[in-house]
Symmetry: C2
């Protein structure tokens, strides 16, 4: 039978990039293509003890239906934590727990956007977000990134040209895929522009606590006096992605809409995972744990950057992230980047992600690719960068 | 700021029913208004042992990112289990794990329906499904229930009148809210009608294994030779709802679309919960566990039915479920059902769910209400039914 899928599904076809990524699952491939936390970053002993305690003392609470808004003690702790760390949370704000940050990207879009409504995005941007926007029939308008964040002139131009724009999506810290951090000046300017054009900001901050050099920059939400910033956080990169626990903090009118949609989407987020996160935050030294993560990623990032400096053709540019999991390499103009990536994975068993995966449309030209340093081992980083380096010199 | 939410959000406003349900959270209220498994139905010891074992032997697998399709060993076991129990699964079918059955209701609708596309539903039907459909801007067309399932004449009429209908939603076993089971004859007839009018069937079967009297009726999916049935299962009622693990089995072309949407929705379902379900199915006696659940619910259902027979005004009709968690009472025509429910909860502390919660629109007239027997204790069932009985005699 020919199924009558809705036309929105046409926008969600598998792309040429997936073909390349298929090779990454081969165990003999060095995968710089993932975005997984390092295995050594999981506090396994703590989670083992916590889980045993929960199932000993509160098994029914952990197994029964729960509230759509999330596990109340966890919500309270997260509210206090982001207030203390990032100065986030005004009187008018509310916070609910979600099934990862991804669920917020999907449901916030669903709440704000009808078919064809515009979402302004950094270009390049996180592919999972772009797909969530597309699946809700939003139209994506990319704003080019500079080394300190979006080009403001082009951002305002895009706002003027798209009066129906509903959301502006931004990953201000160690952006995926570019590794770029938006400067404080640009964060303030972006906020003012969003206010001027009545657009809500979707501030996605999964990597914020993974800063390993330079000073922290205040989040946009911390200066949100007008209730226009939807702040998205996650435990995926600082505790465990398999638990699928994230959260959204925004004006209560917005959170109420997301809650209604969440109820129709998955009723609530797994309660045992939420309880694990709660115990970890309250019974263990979360700051010391974060410090440990930062030192792991600082080491791995430095190893990759050193390798690039030593091995890559100097005509290849690379960003220098001050945190997070990714860096962004750009081949000389005119290079066939897709062929480079395809050759690397097929013939030399090193996988990177072609840059057009992160563009608002697959066919936007780019000679960049994304590299991840959190998943591979030190040995893999050294060897993989050597191999890629050799290939950059053959260009 | 006045937020520019999409117009679809207008359909998802809190209803008058929520006002009544608010009183249910009062601890002194006897809640026949929930749908939770009985606390004694959770295999707490087994889950405690299983979880300790997983976090001892495979902690990284349990905490790391995983596949959108679900934990492969669990998928394999569930495929084999529904094949053995229900004869479900053809060559063309595929099965993925989901964040409860609710996620399938949302994402299948998203895959098939654009704004205004029709979904045919049993009337009354599960409120969570109706809200998922509405949140995707589908138009609901209700088909009245008879004691053996939908009225077939009215179903075909609805199909003729709605050539754009994409899905037909049905809970064939111990339906929520009515407790009705659709007969084999009607299941076959419904299948043929769906085929004739090129409509896919969304067969939701969360309660199927909770039959405590009479013979099992084959699922519609078991005679799906044409790949038109989307079968939805769940571990919420047979293991734990807090784990949020469900699944969908359908033609692989349909499952592929749902998988794409799931990736943009929550990346994947919590992996530790999936591993717990897998260990329980493979290392424990699932059949004996189900037998225990059936005896718990048989006892509770009988207690409620006996009470209704002894205490209720004989003018009040009640269904007699042969499984599941719910029964459906209908007050005499002309009764103000909402006032009855409001009086019961506010002044007499017994909560039931007004029937219009389950209609395709809130203002559809009904004198029925839903009663749940799985959540309350035996004592609460006896006392609550006595109180309601007295109120039915004052009508």
């Amino acid at each position: 039978m020919g199924y009558k899928f809705d036309e929105k599904m046409e926008n969600l076809k598998p792309s040429v990039i997936r073909e390349i990524l298929k090779y990454s699952s081969d165990k003999s491939v060095i995968a710089f293509s993932a975005g997984n936390p390092a295995p050594e970053a999981f506090p396994v002993d703590a989670i083992r003890k916590i889980t045993a305690e929960i199932l000993e003392k509160e098994p029914i609470d952990a197994l029964q239906y729960s509230l759509t808004e999330g596990y109340t003690p966890l919500r309270d702790v997260v509210k206090a934590d982001i207030k203390r760390r990032n100065g986030i949370g005004k009187e008018f704000d509310e916070l609910i727990m979600t099934s990862g940050a991804q669920q917020v990207l999907d449901l916030a879009t669903k709440a704000f956007c009808g078919k064809g409504d515009v979402i302004l995005c950094e270009s390049p941007s996180f592919v999972g977000a772009l797909n969530a926007f597309k699946s809700n029939e939003a139209t994506l308008v990319g704003v080019p990134m500079e080394e300190d964040g979006m080009n403001l002139e082009l951002l305002e131009q895009a706002m003027k040209q798209n009066p129906s724009a509903k959301l502006l999506y931004i990953i201000p810290n160690f952006q995926n895929p570019s590794g770029i951090t938006t400067s404080l000046e640009k964060r303030k300017a972006i906020y003012e522009l969003a206010k001027k054009y009545s657009i809500c900001i979707l501030e996605d901050n999964p990597y914020g606590e993974l800063r390993f050099s330079d000073e922290a920059v205040p989040s946009i939400k911390s200066f949100d006096e007008d209730g226009i910033v939807i702040y998205i956080g996650s435990f995926s990169k600082v505790l465990s992605p398999g638990l699928r626990v994230g959260y959204v903090c925004a004006h209560k009118d917005i959170v109420q809409k997301i809650t209604v949609l969440k109820q129709t989407n998955d009723v609530h987020t797994g309660i045992l995972p939420q309880m694990i996160a709660h115990h970890f935050l309250t019974e263990y030294d979360f700051d010391a744990h974060l410090e440990n993560l930062r030192s792991i990623y600082k080491h791995k990032a430095q190893l990759m950057l050193d390798g690039i400096k030593a091995e890559f053709n100097p005509a290849v540019a690379s960003t220098t992230p001050t945190g997070g999991l990714f860096l962004w390499c750009t081949l000389p103009e005119g290079t066939d980047m897709l062929a480079f990536c395809e050759n690397a994975v097929k013939n030399h068993k090193v996988a990177v992600v072609p840059g057009n995966a992160f563009m608002t449309s697959d066919d936007e030209p780019t000679t960049s690719f994304r590299m991840n340093y959190s998943t591979p081992t030190d040995e893999q980083i050294v060897r993989g960068v050597q191999i890629l380096g050799k290939l950059t010199k053959e260009l």
